[in-house]
Every structure is written in structure tokens, then in C-alpha cells.
Subunit: 419 residues, 2 copies
């Protein structure tokens, strides 16, 4: 599929994340101060809430779907409505649309506009689906003999995360306090995290509910779209707390999402299969077709007031399990899934050191710090650092980009109980 | 404190769960088919939604707090409103109330009335806070040398559960399918759970939000009330999936709550301290006063069409960590807590075999089945069994009861993917 051209000139360049082929869904603070739904096109936002209010666009048989500036209600309407709406917006933004001047008043520049979470996160589940990541972290936490858990090649391992800590790109992250125990200490202390880290992930957003087990094909149909996801992780808190029931406070400070939900439809041309199985899967996890996507990913780290260094480059196509497989597994117990459920892919790491999706892996537990372009070194994230995830699928003369998933780290509170 | 008498005669007996001293909050299906808020008194329900609609009772400066038959909005109004409302309802139901005849039309019999979840579960966190339970389960899963994890005496261990699977007492539970691997098999199979189990727990309901770390005293003030909680657990799925990130599908089929939220105010006379520490706690977990409650608990198991056997009797006062300590720990990372968050205490087990809160422990992993009064034996829960949790605090001539937390187990689907 080639670039589809728009009357919005900035959407017609090979560099933009948001050509007409993309049309991702976001939420922003409008001039009136209210939260509106918007669609990104080039360097602009099409104000969907205002378009609906003025009757320029409508979801058939529905009223005020976008009134609250949240895409959750729209998602609940299902794939036929998603397709119809996408076609209608595509029509409005095509190069040969008859009255572009009539739409100019619905265009808001992305620069300087504050973004919001585009949907209401129902529940958040995080997975552990990169073979390289699981092998690396397992080696560090449990030694090379026990690196890959016995279940890993059969089960898309996941755990429930904390939905209340999910926030939109651009929101600062405060270094947490927690229980830490150094290996040579007998007892833990309560102190600010010393090993604060990122996790480069994709997030799949569930757009349709289920009440019983679903197949991988059905799961794929339930997915509305994808975002970039940074699952901030306090490694010292995690190492002390995670036995035997998994990560808890180490992952509850913040999870940052990129502001635009990339529709599954925009990613269709970039589907690719999961890698060859190292062990046959049980039938219920068999994929009926390619369920991963070829999405180039990178992580940038910029110290306070200094330029950024790209510290990792990898691709979503390296994952062992797809989001559709993860969602299918999630329903096996009869667990009800709801509109707005968020599934983190798990950290995405390639085979090489500079393809790893967490500093824990890149610096091998802090033992081998990296040197930034500024000459500074990093074992883990430092106060004042801004971390940015980026991703895009590359088409013929265009790209389907995700927009920046970025956050700055603030120092820990001096006394967390001082009011 | 003695029994407070009511003009509702059934509330004045030592056997009722719901004397005037209790006044718990529930939700039920009214004659009109709508969900209403209600308060239990003796064997009746006072229809609070109808009282508010008719202007008999009101929350100052608020309108239609109870309109949707859900207590979440009320909880959000905070402790002063909770106290004022409780005083107002107490006044209406006192023996010397001036016009009991005028209230008869707001009274609904509990028998035959369908109950609903009384609040919207925001997120669900489950803990692991009984020393006896952790020692028993740890021994079975990891051997006696590694029974109690190194962190257990310092950290109120918890993990995020699945809010979407929380349901009200009286709702059937379907035996789940899942990945199972027997110890002697090389690979797992996908099959119905063979070791389906209960967990006897208390649930604490968070009634006020927080955005940063809170002290144990502040956490206690955030708690609105308590319920009984049965955290259904698929032990064979759990054993295979839980390494390294904790329970996931094994705990996602269902969690059953008793229908009445017992207000913290009703439990005040029954506060008691946590047991002596086996290791000093970090300051942030220190309790400023008694935070547990003396609540006698029991579990009944009734095979299909047969009478019930009480299979366990224990007390909430045996827990090592209180809900207030758990909630304080939950906030250390800065994790935002919301109105409607539900905290499971963790399985409550005493020191003796017949005081254990899960069949896993009672039958020692199924090796030592129990014999029911009917002569049948049980290693784990069987299809058709009805499991009921009960609990009450014992006052001077009255009790503060929780009402039954009950559910029947249905057989697994023959083919979970057949539509």
C-alpha cells in the first residue's frame, strides 16, 4: 500500500508519524479547557468531539459518543463501527475532499496541545513474552541454570498490573520509595529506589468484552489498537518483593502510554508471524495467521538539559507471543475481559546488548554502565532524565508512527509522609 | 456496648447477623427490577434508594446519591458523611422512633430478594498475610526449608487480582479450564481444573482515594468497611503458572463477596492488635493502635442436595498484617488508590488443621482428604458443592454478622470454545 495523500500537507511526508494511512485516536485539552477526542493527521489534530457536536460527523444511531473526550464508548460499539468511522474520517481528510476550508476550524496544532489518556483503563495486565528478555532477566535474578522458567515456552506468562498508575506521555514520574534489601544486608530499609528503570513495551487495547474463553482469532478481533508502553520498574524493590507472588509496588509507580491509539487497521499491512516455536504450543494458543507486527522501536535517554542518546533499537517482531495469544490465554479461566483493558506485551529485547528494552538488561544489572553521547554514564535512570520510546512501521514512502511516549523522572520526595 | 433495640423485632435477637448495632450496606433488585441501595436490619432490608427518592432521608448538599443502587458515590463523600448517614439510619430504626408505620413500605424481606454487588470494584488486590497459611502453602509448594519467603516477616506480600471476576454471593462459579502439568509429565495439557479450591478471606473496601504514601493511621481512615471474600483458586493451574510472576489465571475465574459491607463503625468495639512481631517492622508499617478485629469465621461445604459440614473454624484476629498495614504498604510506591478498591486479606488460617482457610491446607495438597458428615470425602471442591463462608463479631447479647458468602460450583464446560 502506498502513501495516501491528504489536503493537510504535513501528512504527506515520509517522516511524519501520522499520514492519512494512520489516523490514530487521541484525547486532548481543547481551547475551552474540556477534554476532546481527536485524530492525528500530519502535525495537526482533527477535533472529533467538535465535529460530532456540529453534526459534521456522526456514528450511526448514536449520540454524543465523543462528548466526554474519551474513546471508550466508541470502542464498545465494535469493529463495524470502527471501520465505518475510519472510512468517514479518511474521506474528510483525503487530498480530493471537496471542502477542506470548511474543516480548518476543526484543526488544532499538535505542538503546544496538552494530551490526555485517550481511554479509561479498565484493568491492566502485563506480560513477559520476549525470549531474550526472559532469558536475560532470569539469568540475573535466578542464575543461568534457572533463567527460563519451566512454563515459559508453554504459557504466555502474565500478571495483573495496576490500572490506576497508567498515565499519558508527558506526565512526570516521581522516583518511588520502597522496601530495599541489599544482598549483604540482613534486613531491608525503607528508602528511595536506587535502581529505577524503564521497560520498552507495546500496549494492546481491548475494545470488545468477553465472558468466556476465546480463540486467538477472536482475541485478535477484540483488539482495538496499539500504543507504546513504558512500564517503569523499581528493580531493587522488585528483587526483594517478588517472591513468591510476583511484582507489586515495584511496578505501581507509573506506566506511561504514548498518546495515540494506533488502529489495528492501520497496522494490517505490517503483520508478521511469531518466531519459530522452541516447543509446540497447546492448540488453544495456535495462531491462525500472522499476529505480530513489524514495528521498529527505539529508546532515547536525555539527561536534564542535555541532548538525547538512543540507548536501544529493536523490533516488536522479535516477541515470542503475540497480544492476541496473550488475550486468548487471559480468558482461559473464564476471566471476563472488558472494553478498555490494557495488555502490556512485556519488555521487548532483541538478541544484542543494544537491542534490549530495559537498562537492567543493557547494563547487566548495573554492572556494565552505558556511556551517553554527553560522556555521562548510566547504570539505571537518574533524576532529571527524560526517557522516550518511539516506534513506527515502515510503508512504501510513509510510516505508521506511534508518537513519542515520554516522561521525565523527578527526584524522590524527601519525606513521603510530610504533608 | 449492649444490644441497641429496634422496632424491627427480628433485629433484637442474639442470633441475627443484623441488629441495629450493625446496619450494613448492600444492593438488591427492587420490585421494579432496578438495583437499589439497602441497609440490613434483622431479616429485612431498608430501601435507601426509595427513602432518598421520597425525601425521607438525604445526604446533606447531595442529590440522588443512591439513585443507581451502588454505594460507590456515597463512599467517595468521606467519613463525616458516613457517620452522619449512619446516625440518621440508626434514628429511623430505633425502638422509640416515632412513626415506624410510615417506614413499613420501605421494608423488603431479605428472603427471596436478589442481592447485587454493593459497590463498583475499582481494582482488586489480594494479600498473603496469615503466618500459618504462608507457612503451610510454602511448605507444600517449595518444601519446608523455603516455606516462608525471606521477605515475609517484613513485607505485607500482595499481588494485583482481577476486579472483573469479583461477584456477589449467590452467583454460581464455573470450574475453569487451564494449563495443567502433573509433576511426572513432561508437558502441560489444556484441561478442566482438577484441584479447585476456596480461600477464606476478609475483604477491606477502600472508601477514600490517595495519591501518595499514607501512614497506617491514614490507611485505616480510608477503609469504608469489610466483607467476607472467597478467592476461588485453581491449585493445579496455580502450581504450573505462578513462577516467576505470581498467580494469574488460577485466580481469575471468580472471587465471591458477601453481599453486605459491614461498616467500620459497627466493628469498632471488636478491634484487637496484630500478634507479636517475629521480626521488628519498618517504621512505616507500625500500627498506632489495634487494627485487626475479633471476628469468628467458618467455612461450610454442602454437596449437591445434601446437608452442610463445617470444614473450618478460625478467627480474623490470627492475621499477621492488618488491612490498614496492607493499604499503607500499597501506597508506598506512590500507587494511586481509588474509591472502590478491594483488598483481600489473604487466606485466614489458624494453627490447627480444622482452622485452615483452604482445602489445599486442610487436606495437605489433597493427600489427606476430609470426611464430611454425609460420609463422603473431599480432597478439593467437587462439582455441585456449595461453599459458604460465615463470620461474626460477638457483642454483649448481640452479634455483628456478615451474612452468608456462598456459591455453588458448576461443572466445567465440555468444550470451552463451542459457541
Amino acid at each position: 500500500m502506498p502513501l495516501m495523500t491528504s489536503w493537510v500537507d504535513s501528512a504527506n511526508t515520509p517522516e511524519t508519524d501520522f499520514p492519512l494511512n494512520n489516523l490514530p485516536y487521541g484525547a486532548f485539552v481543547s481551547d475551552s479547557g474540556e477534554q476532546h477526542c481527536g485524530v492525528a493527521i500530519g502535525d495537526m489534530i482533527l477535533d472529533v468531539t467538535a465535529l460530532e457536536a456540529d453534526g459534521v460527523i456522526a456514528v450511526p444511531d448514536e449520540e454524543e459518543v465523543f462528548f466526554f473526550g474519551d474513546w471508550t464508548e466508541f470502542m464498545a460499539l465494535g469493529p463495524a463501527v470502527w471501520a465505518g468511522f475510519r472510512a468517514a474520517v479518511t474521506e474528510l481528510l483525503r487530498e480530493d475532499y471537496e471542502d477542506p476550508q470548511g474543516l480548518v476550524r476543526y484543526m488544532v496544532p499538535q505542538v503546544g496541545t496538552q494530551m490526555c489518556l485517550p481511554f479509561t483503563v479498565a484493568e491492566y495486565t502485563d506480560f513477559y513474552a520476549s525470549f531474550n528478555h526472559a532469558s536475560n532477566v532470569g539469568t540475573m535474578f535466578r542464575g543461568p541454570e534457572n533463567a527460563l522458567p519451566a512454563n515459559w515456552l508453554s504459557v504466555p506468562i502474565g500478571y495483573n498490573g495496576r490500572a490506576s498508575s497508567v498515565q499519558v506521555s508527558g506526565t512526570d514520574v516521581r522516583r518511588p520509595w520502597g522496601q530495599l534489601k541489599s544482598p549483604d544486608a540482613e534486613l531491608p530499609v525503607f528508602a528511595p529506589c536506587k535502581r529505577f528503570d524503564i521497560e520498552l513495551e507495546m500496549g494492546a487495547i481491548v475494545g470488545q468484552p468477553s465472558t468466556g474463553p476465546v480463540t486467538v482469532a477472536e482475541a485478535d478481533e477484540m483488539i482495538f489498537g496499539y500504543v507504546l508502553l513504558n512500564d517503569w520498574s523499581a528493580r531493587d524493590i522488585q528483587a526483594w518483593e517478588y517472591m513468591p507472588l510476583g511484582p507489586f509496588q515495584s511496578k505501581a509507580t507509573a506506566t506511561t502510554l504514548s498518546p495515540w491509539i494506533i488502529p489495528k487497521a492501520a497496522l494490517e499491512p505490517f503483520r508478521c508471524p511469531t518466531p519459530e516455536r522452541k516447543r509446540p504450543l497447546l492448540d488453544y494458543l495456535t495462531e491462525p495467521g500472522p499476529m505480530l507486527y513489524d514495528i521498529a522501536l527505539e529508546v532515547g535517554l536525555a539527561p536534564e538539559g542535555a541532548p538525547e542518546t538512543v540507548i536501544s533499537r529493536t523490533n516488536y517482531n522479535t516477541m515470542y507471543y503475540s497480544s492476541a495469544q496473550q488475550l486468548a490465554h487471559h480468558t482461559t479461566s473464564g476471566c471476563p475481559m472488558n472494553v478498555g483493558d490494557l495488555l502490556g506485551s512485556g519488555t521487548i529485547s532483541g538478541t544484542e546488548k543494544d537491542q534490549r528494552g530495559a537498562l537492567l538488561e543493557i547494563t547487566w544489572g548495573g554492572q556494565d554502565p552505558i556511556t551517553l553521547d554527553t560522556g555521562e554514564t548510566r547504570a539505571f535512570v537518574e533524576d532529571g532524565d527524560t526517557l522516550t520510546l518511539r516506534g513506527h512501521a515502515l510503508g512504501d514512502g510513509f510510516r505508521i508512527g506511534f508518537g513519542d511516549c515520554t516522561a521525565k523522572v523527578l527526584p524522590a520526595l524527601e519525606d513521603p509522609y510530610k504533608r
